[in-house]
Symmetry: C2
Subunit: 241 residues, 2 copies
């Protein structure tokens, strides 16, 4: 089973100057791919902080996705930080530097040439297919913060990440979660490979509690669902889907 | 200057079953209050993980806000984890337990009584004004994950958190950030108490780069803005606001 962590980098996100859209997009995409997202951090433009979070997530999960901090200005520190995370030097990458020189032509200056530096050992993915390649350092995929660029690159990467997808069932009840908490805890204990969630809702008359069941094994989800429905009063159940 | 961290707890957020709305709300509110948000983490329903993140943020920042994991079901682990974070026992709180017994009456069971347990030393805030009180453990404010409940409690808390607000200016340019990166880095280095940001934009003709200047000292922001505008070609500037 593959797992993932997301690191969103940027003071502008924490200060609310820019509405966060990338984690939101990746959450949905990873779910559809069957990759289990374990942790999202949103952090400031600070080399030590970025390095520490990237290293921790890289050690703990199959994939790490970073968003932001890869432009040409003083607050673009992500690649420097990833180099530090892995004790690697950061150095000019001949292929990337060539692309930057061609793109900027006469306007190439030290600031944009800085974007041609990568941690040693970095890979450039999608060179023939993407307008600008996707940078990967070990298991860390380095995405730009601009949502349309992140999405274009992730769309390209997606087929390479697919895992067994999750099967999800939801049971909607017209009673509060206090009524089912004890029974649900007992069923949860019996199905180690099924994740159960319970979510109260107060702003609609449609239902009061939503119980979710989730696993990569569809048969287990069905078995757990049958078990759960057997424990509930029939007139509590609004619908199952 | 007060700082803050946010801990969003819940598998349902990471798996995309529930759209995250609370961090988004708190980001805007903290900005308006002048509280500097340093870090947001979104984590799974796991006691050790919650305890570690809460402890780290509590040690590092003025305020910590948690969201989620405070209901009566098996996945509601936040208060247990906060107790562990501070090596405190978790025990029945007489006032809170009394409220729960009254609220649930005949339907009170072990699951809902678990919600009457708090880490030793926890405070109940807003007892006379809120429908259910806000729990605080040291500098950690414990919010429910249901957005309307979180907001009702935060609205109550807001006036108690206010700090000197930030002054923000933005300069919109019709050139890419590569053109201003070097000059901006130099000005940034001269104004330690002003935060500069640079954000490219590709999906509009209105501008290509937005430069932000931010500080709690309005005079410093004005001085830095004047300095910046003096360094830019006049016909690059689309507008300042």
């Amino acid at each position: 089973m593959s797992t993932a962590g997301i690191v969103v980098i940027g003071n502008e996100v924490l200060s609310g100057q820019v509405e966060e859209a990338n984690a939101r997009y990746l959450v949905r995409e990873l779910r559809a791919l069957g990759v289990q997202l374990m942790r999202v951090v949103v952090i400031r433009d600070d080399v030590d902080t970025i390095a520490k979070d990237v290293r921790e997530l890289s050690d703990a999960y199959t994939h790490v996705f970073t968003s932001g901090g890869v432009g040409s200005t003083h607050d673009d520190l992500t690649l420097t930080a990833i180099a530090r995370a892995f004790d690697a030097p950061i150095e000019p990458h001949p292929v990337l530097m060539g692309m930057i020189e061609r793109h900027f032509g006469d306007r190439a200056n030290d600031a944009v040439r800085r974007m041609g530096h990568l941690p040693r050992g970095a890979d450039l993915l999608g060179l023939d297919e993407l307008r600008f390649p996707l940078v990967r350092v070990r298991n860390v995929y380095v995405f730009p913060g601009v949502p349309e660029y992140l999405r274009a690159k992730f769309e390209w990467l997606k087929p390479k990440l697919a895992d067994t997808p999750f099967t999800l069932k939801a049971v909607y009840l017209n009673v509060g979660e206090d009524r089912i908490a004890e029974g649900l805890a007992s069923i949860d204990a019996q199905y180690a490979d099924v994740a159960f969630g319970s979510y109260p809702r107060f702003d609609t008359d449609e239902y009061r509690t939503k119980i979710t069941l989730e696993s990569r094994d569809p048969d287990l989800v069905e078995a757990a669902l049958t078990h759960l429905l057997g424990e509930l009063e029939a007139d509590w159940v609004v619908r199952v889907d």
